[in-house]
C-alpha cells in the first residue's frame, strides 16, 4: 500500500447511506443501548443485593453475571463494531482464533488450578499471612505473649510442610 490511509474501492457507494437508512440504523443502535443499560442496572441491583441474601459467591450468580456479560459483549461486537455486517468469512477470521485461544487459556488454567490446590489450601507463606490477618480481625491479639505465639505458629507450619 502506497499510502497510510488506503481507500477501499467504491467505499462511497458501499457505505454511503441515505437518511432513510440512517434513521433505521440509529433506531437499532439506540435499542442496543437500552438493552445494555437495562442489563447493567440489573447486574448492579443484583450485585448490591447479593450480600444481604447470602448469594455472594453462589455459583448460579457467577454464571448469571458471566452470561449477561457475554450478551453485552456480543451486542457491542455485532452492532457497535458492525461485525454482524461484515462478510461471513471475515467474521470467522476474527472470532475463531480468539474463541479458540481463550477457551484453551481457560481450560489450561482450570487444569493447572487443580494442582495449585483447592481454595484455602495455600502455601506455607500464605498460611502464615492469612492466619495473621484472621487473628488480627477477630481481635485475639494485643497481649505481650501474642508475639511469642505468632512465632510458634509459623514454626508449626514449617514442620508441617517438612514431613
Amino acid at each position: 500500500m502506497s499510502e497510510f490511509h488506503d481507500d477501499y474501492p467504491h467505499y462511497e457507494t458501499m457505505s454511503n447511506h441515505d437518511e432513510a437508512y440512517g434513521k433505521k440504523a440509529r433506531r437499532t443502535l439506540w435499542n442496543v443501548f437500552w438493552i445494555m443499560l437495562i442489563i447493567t442496572i440489573f447486574e448492579l441491583i443484583i450485585g448490591s443485593m447479593a450480600p444481604g441474601h447470602g448469594w455472594t459467591g453462589a455459583l448460579w450468580l457467577k454464571v448469571l453475571f458471566i452470561g449477561l456479560t457475554v450478551v453485552k459483549a456480543a451486542a457491542i461486537v455485532l452492532w457497535f463494531m458492525h461485525l454482524g455486517h461484515e462478510t461471513k468469512f471475515f467474521k470467522y477470521i476474527i472470532l475463531l482464533p480468539y474463541i479458540t485461544f481463550i477457551l484453551y487459556a481457560i481450560f489450561i488454567i482450570l487444569v493447572e488450578g487443580i494442582y495449585s490446590g483447592a481454595p484455602g489450601n495455600f502455601t506455607r507463606v500464605d498460611k502464615i499471612f492469612i492466619e495473621q490477618q484472621q487473628k488480627l480481625k477477630s481481635g485475639h491479639h494485643g497481649a505481650a505473649g501474642a508475639h511469642e505465639k505468632e512465632g510458634a505458629h509459623s514454626e508449626e507450619h514449617a514442620t508441617e510442610t517438612h514431613h
Partner: protein, 241 residues
C-alpha cells in the same frame, strides 16, 4: 448493508482484490484488536486463577468501593455503575458518529465525536478518582505485624489503603490485579481519547470531507468500542464476582 457496488479488482489491494470486502486498514485494526483482546484475556484468566485460590480471603468489591463524590454516605458500587454508564454512553455516541460518517454528515460527526471525547475524559478522570480512594483507604485502616529489627519482635502497625505491597481490605493480590488490569485498561482509554481527539481535529479541518468518506471514524470507532468491550468484562470480574 448495501453491498451492491460492482467490485473494482484493479483498484483494490496490491494483490488485486480484497478477499473480505473490507479495507486493509480496517482489517489490520481488527487484527490488532484480536491480539489486544488476547492480552486482556490472559490477564483476566490469571486474575480468575488467583481470585479462586484466595477466595476465602478475597475482599468483596462492595466493601471496598463505597465512595461517591460529594456524598458522605457509603454507596457500594454506585460510582462504578456511573463510570460504566459513562463509557457505554460514549460508545453509543461513537457509533452515532460512525453512522453520521456513513451519511457524509460532517456536522453530525463533529457533534458525536465531541461527546465521545468528553465521555472518555470523564471516564479516565473517574478512574483516577477511584484509584485515589483505593490508595488512600479508610480512616480506620488495618493492622499488620511488622518485624522490628531492633527489638527482634513483631510490632503492630496501622496502615491505610492499598499499594502493590499491602492492602487494608484483604490480600495484596487484589490490589496488584486491580492496579494492573484497570491501569492497563485506563491507559487504553487514555490513548483512545488522544486518538479520538486527533481524528476530531481532522474532522474539523475537513480532511475526510475532502477524501470523500469517513472511514477513519470507523477505524477509531472500532478501537473505542473495544475499550468499552474490555470494560464490560473488567467490571464483571472485579466488581460483581
Amino acid at each position: 448493508m448495501a453491498h451492491t457496488a460492482e467490485f473494482d479488482a484493479k483498484a483494490a489491494w496490491d494483490g488485486g482484490q480484497s478477499p473480505f470486502r473490507v479495507s486493509y486498514g480496517k482489517m489490520m485494526m481488527w487484527f490488532f484488536l484480536v491480539s489486544d483482546a488476547l492480552t486482556f484475556g490472559g490477564l483476566l484468566v490469571s486474575y480468575g486463577f488467583i481470585r479462586h485460590k484466595y477466595s476465602d480471603v478475597w475482599p468483596k468489591a462492595e466493601n471496598v468501593f463505597t465512595h461517591f463524590p460529594f456524598i458522605e454516605q457509603h454507596l457500594p458500587l454506585a460510582y462504578v455503575g456511573l463510570m460504566t454508564f459513562i463509557l457505554i454512553m460514549s460508545s453509543v455516541t461513537m457509533v452515532l458518529a460512525v453512522e453520521a460518517g456513513h451519511r457524509m454528515d460532517r456536522r453530525g460527526v463533529t457533534v458525536w465525536m465531541f461527546w465521545t471525547i468528553v465521555g472518555g475524559a470523564l471516564f479516565v478522570g473517574s478512574q483516577a478518582w477511584e484509584w485515589y480512594h483505593f490508595i488512600v483507604g479508610t480512616h480506620e485502616g488495618a493492622v499488620r505485624n511488622v518485624w522490628d529489627m531492633a527489638t527482634k519482635t513483631y510490632v503492630q502497625e496501622t496502615y491505610h489503603g492499598a499499594t502493590m505491597a499491602v492492602n487494608e481490605y484483604g490480600v495484596p493480590q487484589f490490589a496488584n490485579y486491580f492496579f494492573f488490569i484497570t491501569g492497563f485498561h485506563g491507559f487504553h482509554v487514555f490513548s483512545g481519547v488522544i486518538i479520538n481527539l486527533t481524528i476530531f481535529l481532522n474532522v474539523l479541518k475537513g480532511t475526510y470531507e475532502k477524501r470523500g468518506h469517513y472511514e477513519m471514524i470507523e477505524k477509531v470507532g472500532l478501537y473505542w468500542h473495544f475499550v468499552d468491550l474490555v470494560w464490560v468484562f473488567v467490571f464483571t470480574f472485579f466488581y460483581l464476582l
